[in-house]
Subunit: 701 residues, 2 copies
Amino acid sequence: MADAAVRTSRPATNRRTPAGGAPRAPHSAAEAAEARIDIAAVENMLLGTWADTRRETREAIKDSAFWQVTGQTKEEHRERVLTQLHMLVDIEGSRRAFPAEYGGHDNNGANIAGFEELVLADPSLQIKSGVQWGLFGSAIYQLGTKTHWDRWLPAVISLELPGAFAMTETGHGSDVAAIGTTATYDPDTEEFVINTPFRGAWKDYLGNAALHGKAATVFAQLITGGVNYGVHCFFVPLRDDDGNFLPGIGGEDDGVKGGLNGIDNGRLHFDHVRVPRENLLNRYGDVAPDGSYSSDIASPGRRFFTMLGALVQGRVSLDGAATTASALALKIAVTYGNQRRQFDSGSGTDEVTLLDYGKHQRRLLPLIAQNYAQFFAHDELLTTFDGVFSGRNDTPDERENLETLAAALKPLSTWNALNTIQEAREACGGQGFLAENRLVGLHHDLDVYVTFEGDNNVLLQLVGKRLLADYARQFKGADAAALAKFAVGQTAGKVFRGAGLRQLGQSVADFGSTARSVELGLRAEQQHELLAGRVEQMVADLATALRPASKLAPAEAADLFNQHQAELIEAARAHGELLQWEAFSDGVKAIQDEGTRQVLTWLRDLFGLHLIEKHLAWYLINGRLSAQRAASVSRYIGRLCTRLRPHAQDLVDAYGLAPEHVRAPIASGAEQERQDEAREHYARLKASGDAPTSEKALQKK
Amino acid sequence: MADAAVRTSRPATNRRTPAGGAPRAPHSAAEAAEARIDIAAVENMLLGTWADTRRETREAIKDSAFWQVTGQTKEEHRERVLTQLHMLVDIEGSRRAFPAEYGGHDNNGANIAGFEELVLADPSLQIKSGVQWGLFGSAIYQLGTKTHWDRWLPAVISLELPGAFAMTETGHGSDVAAIGTTATYDPDTEEFVINTPFRGAWKDYLGNAALHGKAATVFAQLITGGVNYGVHCFFVPLRDDDGNFLPGIGGEDDGVKGGLNGIDNGRLHFDHVRVPRENLLNRYGDVAPDGSYSSDIASPGRRFFTMLGALVQGRVSLDGAATTASALALKIAVTYGNQRRQFDSGSGTDEVTLLDYGKHQRRLLPLIAQNYAQFFAHDELLTTFDGVFSGRNDTPDERENLETLAAALKPLSTWNALNTIQEAREACGGQGFLAENRLVGLHHDLDVYVTFEGDNNVLLQLVGKRLLADYARQFKGADAAALAKFAVGQTAGKVFRGAGLRQLGQSVADFGSTARSVELGLRAEQQHELLAGRVEQMVADLATALRPASKLAPAEAADLFNQHQAELIEAARAHGELLQWEAFSDGVKAIQDEGTRQVLTWLRDLFGLHLIEKHLAWYLINGRLSAQRAASVSRYIGRLCTRLRPHAQDLVDAYGLAPEHVRAPIASGAEQERQDEAREHYARLKASGDAPTSEKALQKK
């Protein structure tokens, strides 16, 4: 495998030989003699704002010591990843997020960008780094104060102090506010007593907990003077230097997982473990020696969400890592699809390259479009994150925007990653099932991305509630009649039902028109109108449906809300898709090179049409697309696929992945060699005159 | 884990305590005081025609020696599964398909049913058994003749002769006709020379090839007298008694795979390996000592498909195993969803059981409906298979039906299995990602089911072509004008566009009508009309679109076909869905017990509506549903979910899976214990008067 991995990737575009007859349709942009992307320029765009850091990390992980080895036991894999973490420290990989005072680089955006690229080496490495520096280290830095930084940050950065981030419990994942672990202040000894009252309150799924963690940042209900001030975070030592649990602490290994087995996930429980008062990470709330509680944030709810919000970077980095992992899967599947042949075309010539099949194009090309959209959207998310965490743009509004953006994008990109990797694996057939071709491993490792750092459905529900709150803000103080009047007004508005009705009227004109005129009706502006209008109407419809809740008893109101839960989540998803589409469109607008702009405009259109097709029934039911125009969506996608097919290799080459990042034999030349050898064999046989006659030919005589 | 596994499963229905306040809505049919299924009777229905064999196998695999052990290396896992195969021989598990003359039971249906159940123990065991007896053994039995049976069947059945089924090559999977391996007859020595001419012609992905196979049934192009008579099968010894390759034979291990690592998949190549003339499995074609070829089937194409058709049982058994594996995943997720609580409802009472969430119901209940449909459809498939292979009903038409049915159902059930298992894993959150809870392992192992034994897309394309052929048969001899006239006639026909237009007219009457009247418009008959009408129209539309092909040059005709490839596959999928729906409906019709019939009718309706919702845009575009009626589909699904929610546990309990089959701690009582303990803790704390006041409550004062 190592051999295959260092082979230079030879894109199909430059080496197609007419050995068995020229292909009927162009396979590459070079052959197609038309607009073509500037691959290097697109690579720069996709690498985004922190391109330099990404390139630096990609260069570093060309070292095979960083690569995942398939078939290792979890013990071997965990050891290997721990070693890799030390290697990261050696190349300064752990310093970027931390302040210069502690040897850090004060560069939050670069920090996330660098970590995300590690997914190419081994997702276990990416996530275990995230646990150590992004969660454990960040909790100390973001929730603690100078005393804590002075005491622990240097050892966190150097990995002398590996730690676990003990938030989730077996009984409470997404609902952090309800965790059972308690930290009760004892004014007599000026200590907090950390306690696990029942099995469901064990901390669970924690990286670094099963083996390597010497301490943990433990989230617990802070109780002092008989009052529960809600969830706070405490620094709790776990193990002595020999790796034995300290008194009162116990735990278990989570054992084998569906993936990420290079991480030592485990469980922890605390039997009245005492830590000094100063171990409370006290940035947002503190307890004085006498036990009195104080906080700059009076509202318990707002304080809780502020603390959680300080840890948003996990979600941000998953959005980026999922996008990069999807890119890797597409690079593998498209390269293979451009080399592998299967079945002759029935025209008696040559076997057909997979990517020439209509179905194969339909499977893979919209996923490239979606992946590009995610790259653009992620760069916006990361820029927002960097603005807030650098302090340049740290306002409550911007923090809320950041959290909503992260909660909207992370679910979409992580689910898309699983879909993309699975489609890529199936598109590679049996080869896709071999671990050496990496697709199955990527799926195993990324599986948990959809439920950790906030379950995707729970996150989307948060986004949905934010959308509803924004909507309701328009009617502050307005009574129901005003709301009803507003709703009526919408009917004639620009992007609400009225627009749909107008389009319905136009549908007669569409009928029988040329393909080009139909496409004109589904250009950028219309795509935006359809996508944005859907979000707005879904939110407005939900608001109307939920309005009676304010007059109901709590239980009935909860029931009403629950009846609309699936729609709320769907509205949030629509919002996330719109954000991705807008980011892609903004990216395309900024392109100078004409060929690049043309091809990426097609790709953006494919993304937009792909979204509209996915929700076509909604557009029809709501009168926003006529049946004729709706029917044309699928045909338009077909034409876009035909147009983009010659550019497929360019588009995945623009991910800028080197052979050391791809490492899948089927995408590193092995398949092309096999195809060439087979075709040469048959050509030689034919030339020799020794080829057997086929029975069929014989029967015809 | 073993401990958890033998704990008796205690369904939530019988043990709900009002510890923290009674649930708002019924959680079980017992509470709901309404129609309820007869669980034992439904279990019998789902076990189907060969219920006895299924029960026998399920009893046998209660022995933990048959269970998959997580975290084993592939070497350990392969050894374990080989041992399990010997255990199967000991309990007569390998005899069912073979004739009594060789110690067999002559029972094809029971054989498949028994093998399918093995998926509950370990999918590697199911598939390795399938390789040995279903592929290697079947090739000898179905493609060979008495000489071959006498020589090899007893040792195949007893596992003295483990073998590989060497059909697929690295360069040719689904396109078996184009394999590169040759078997050239040498009349001088009366031997066939088996040869691998290039790397792409290596046999690949073969179970038993890497380690255990002593022989293989090798598919190769039969060449005699300078003529290639197409693919035939040969018995080729591979290894000596010490496990070393015989002269001229070489191979490689396929290494770690995405799953099924208990099987020693590998590659084989042959360097002019000579086998006696008699090693040709000569049921459908033979070569005389002088090299002359003979066959009862004159057409090379028909001969080829007859040989492949003799091996259809692989597809049949995957349909059943995928259905049973999905049932296991649903049993785990629904049981957990009925015990696990998350977030309080906002009404200040208790935390909400997962399955009470609208979204959670929407995620899981339609999957139960789909799974039930698959059980009914699979029993029909297996009955058809048994009819053909027992000889009771072995006509060319019935063989073709069997092959089409298998090709239509296997893709749907294997894809559904991956979706179902993944949704179940996500619905269980972090617990779902732990190997001990089995969902991730099921996904890993079943992943390859969608591309092996015929890639799903390739199989659906075959079905689509068959649908087109059936359609064209109606116009035999008819010219284009007649076809056009027929197409026009359709517009006013019963299940074609006309019906859609009529429904569109009715839509005004729907508007504002009660929910019940809308449901009346989506009852069984309408569901059938919608599902069947879609298949018919899609096929008719395709036929119209492809009609010009007959007048085009082969290359252009191929292009035209390729443009419609995705639609052809979609039509085949619609056909498969219709078959599943019809099988489910036939099953429901046969039910005597009223409660059971009522609940399963709701479930069948949920399946039908779920399919219609999936294709809603199509129904709208084609005028078969009005916008109003289409909008009601989703609401109706919501109501069906509410109705079925109390029956969810009954429905998965009716799978009849014992704790030894489930073996997931979260579905074996551990979660319920944790919930009970936590609630008792808080109740005690409250009663003691020591519970801390919440800061929020304090602030209100």
